[in-house]
């Protein structure tokens, strides 16, 4: 299987300004920064969905924005179809957008209120492809049909659509240019139960039909389990565990992954489940850290955890960064 996206040692720091930065300079200390993404590596094959999970502030959306080059990475490689996106600028980068699209969480905020459904789905075709106007119209009709938006909705504006229809319009816009990779940042989190399951099934159907690859970012583990073939778990800017989905949910190894999975409520009052409880809160991503990022919160902590654990392969395709595994 060919690799569509390979991210290597991706780092994105946000330098701090103001008194803290001045004080550090005066002391000759390294400039303080929010270390949002601190050396993340993963790869996505053709037709594969990689789920990137973690809590708010773990850096998963920053990874997405770097992959899309909406943010410039501080360092690292983002290899898309064999080419390093991190090194591209201007026109060269814009030409890749045809193959690299995105869907965001808020279906309303991500639509231009002044464009009709037809115009907003046509826009990326106009910008990124050389299709003639007639071909563009045919493509618009085709993708709207694919996402289940009827012809009668073509000339509607976002405020005339329901929440579910808006997210379908977002998806139609993302797949209009026939991309190879779509970055999905919490695409189902703002939707109600019944709409959520429909959008999940739609995404799955589109992936199968077009051999699309998804980078699926979410804090909703149940949805990730349904959609992703592989899952990477992020904590404090690093990937702490990565495995095939069935393996990860059947045999989570990292204490953080175990705590996350255990905390998801299941609709079965008689279920007996592991309870692994972390203490405290996510520490500040500004403080320089020593050792395991979970230190101080992990109930299984040992002396060895004072050294930073490397991400190592413990089973085929199963990588974990923990000294105790």
């Amino acid at each position: 299987m060919s690799i569509v996206l390979r991210v290597e040692r991706l780092v994105r720091h946000f330098p701090l300004r103001g008194p803290a930065a001045w004080a550090a300079r005066w002391r000759g200390a390294p400039p303080p920064a929010v270390r949002a993404v601190d050396g993340v590596s993963f790869a996505i094959a053709e037709g594969e969905t990689l789920g990137l999970v973690g809590e708010s502030g773990c850096g998963k959306s920053t990874v997405a924005r770097c992959v899309l080059r909406l943010l410039d990475p501080t360092s690292g490689r983002i290899e898309f179809e064999g080419e390093d996106l991190a090194a591209l600028r201007g026109d060269a980068l814009r030409r890749r957008r045809e193959r690299l699209q995105m869907v965001f969480q808020d279906p309303t905020a991500s639509l231009n209120p002044r464009l009709s459904v037809r115009d907003m789905v046509e826009e990326p075709l106009r910008l990124h492809t050389r299709l003639a106007p007639r071909e563009r119209q045919a493509r618009v009709a085709e993708v709207l049909e694919e996402v289940g938006l009827g012809r009668e909705l073509m000339d509607r504006y976002p405020h005339e659509l329901s929440g579910g229809q808006r997210q379908r319009a977002n998806i139609a816009r993302a797949i209009a240019t026939r991309p190879r990779l779509v970055v999905l940042d919490e695409p189902t989190s703002a939707l109600d139960v019944s709409l959520r399951s429909r959008v999940i099934l739609l995404l799955e159907r589109l992936r199968e039909r077009h051999a699309l690859s998804y980078l699926f970012i979410s804090h909703d583990l149940a949805t990730v389990k349904y959609l992703a073939q592989r899952v990477a778990v992020m904590y404090l800017g690093s990937v702490v565990e990565e495995a095939p989905t069935t393996e990860l949910f059947a045999r989570p190894l990292h204490p953080y992954t175990r705590a996350l999975i255990a905390a998801v409520p299941v609709p079965d009052p008689e279920a007996r489940r592991e309870r692994l409880v972390l203490s405290g809160e996510i520490p500040s991503p500004i403080a320089p850290r020593r050792g395991c990022p979970l230190r101080g919160r992990c109930p299984l902590e040992r002396e060895a955890c004072a050294a930073e654990p490397p991400l190592r392969e413990v089973a085929p395709g199963h990588r974990v960064a923990c000294h105790l595994v």
């Binding site: 399951s197 804090h219 409520p265 279920a271």
Partner: protein, 323 residues
């Protein structure tokens, strides 16, 4: 059976819209015993939140309570004058709203907000109220409560804000807590801790909780009993184990089948159709147009909520012959 703490009978709430009247809640009946946790579930637009608003007497025009009674500790809240109701709202019934950041006052420190409540409803002097506010923040697990009490909502994380809301709702030691989607939008670990906190405080203070949510997982893990609402009507109510082991109403079954879950492999089946428009509510069962089992009778006649087992009631013709 103990006397119910909250007893809602035949509640109907109508909103007069430009296009005509909408009965957002239609003939709802609920009972909540002291110390009990009741989950009220359903899709958006099923009338869950409007029910909570009605209990608090907060239905405002164009909405109004059309009929029914809401008895809290034996008194009908719908018949109480506003001043009296305000006392019940603060001291007897606490409320945890869905979006904690917008529900908190942005220009008052969180400590001040809780203290103000205590001075107003418990008549505490300023200093004692301030001390008790800090104590409440400690109780809900906020680290460094003295420092946090002096901060504003925007200085706290979402999970922290939600804990402040809970501290506020419980400060006056209410006998009933209404919690509207208290964990929606929070990260799983934070959500799990908030639910543990609610359950624990409920156990310790003996407060009953009406938990409004669309998350069946949270219901399964926290509630004693469940009431399922669809399009403004109650379709099934049962003890939590019964509801998940033998859901009877087709809508309840559809709700359970429509969610992806971490504990087993499931084939995801979205609920067919959408919640019907209540502008022109169908005469029969409001689920009929979405239901695979619907017959001609279902479309004409409205099924009543009838017991099919002790403490298990269902509003469905298909469930009736069981007796």
């Amino acid at each position: 059976m103990t006397a119910p703490l909250l007893e809602i009978e035949d509640l109907a709430v109508r909103f007069d819209t430009e296009d005509g009247p909408v009965e957002a809640v239609d003939g709802l009946g609920l009972r909540l015993a002291p110390g009990e946790i009741l989950g009220l579930v359903g899709e958006s637009g099923s009338g869950k939140s409007v029910t909570a608003y009605a209990v608090l007497g907060l239905v405002r025009p164009p909405g109004r309570v059309l009929r029914g009674s809401i008895r809290f500790e034996g008194r009908d809240l719908l018949a109480l004058p506003e001043a009296e109701l305000r006392r019940v709202r603060g001291a007897g019934i606490g409320m945890v709203w869905q979006s904690p950041r917008t529900a908190l006052n942005p220009v008052l420190t969180v400590g001040h907000q809780i203290a103000r409540l205590l001075r107003h409803h418990r008549g505490l002097p300023p200093r004692a109220a301030r001390e008790r506010a800090v104590e409440m923040l400690r109780l809900v697990g906020i680290p460094e409560p003295e420092r946090r009490a002096r901060q504003y909502a925007h200085q706290l994380s979402g999970g922290m804000c939600q804990r402040v809301m809970i501290a506020m709702a419980l400060a006056t030691q209410p006998r009933l807590l209404l919690a509207d989607e208290p964990t929606t939008g929070l990260d799983v670990l934070v959500a799990a801790r908030i639910m543990e906190l609610l359950k624990d405080l409920g156990r310790r203070t003996g407060a009953a909780i009406l938990l409004i949510t669309h998350d069946l997982g949270t219901v399964a893990e926290s509630c004693d009993r469940v009431a399922v609402m669809h399009a403004g009507q109650l379709v099934e109510t049962a003890p939590v184990r019964t509801l998940f082991r033998d859901p009877v109403h087709p809508y309840t079954r559809a709700l359970v089948a429509a969610i992806p879950r971490v504990d087993r492999e499931v084939a995801l089946e979205p609920i067919p159709g959408a919640v019907p428009s209540l502008l022109h509510a169908p005469p029969g069962c409001r689920y009929a147009a979405r239901c695979a089992l619907a017959t001609g009778r279902c479309r004409q006649e409205r099924p009543a909520l009838l017991p099919i087992a002790p403490d298990h009631q269902v509003a469905c013709f298909a469930a009736e012959p069981v007796a």
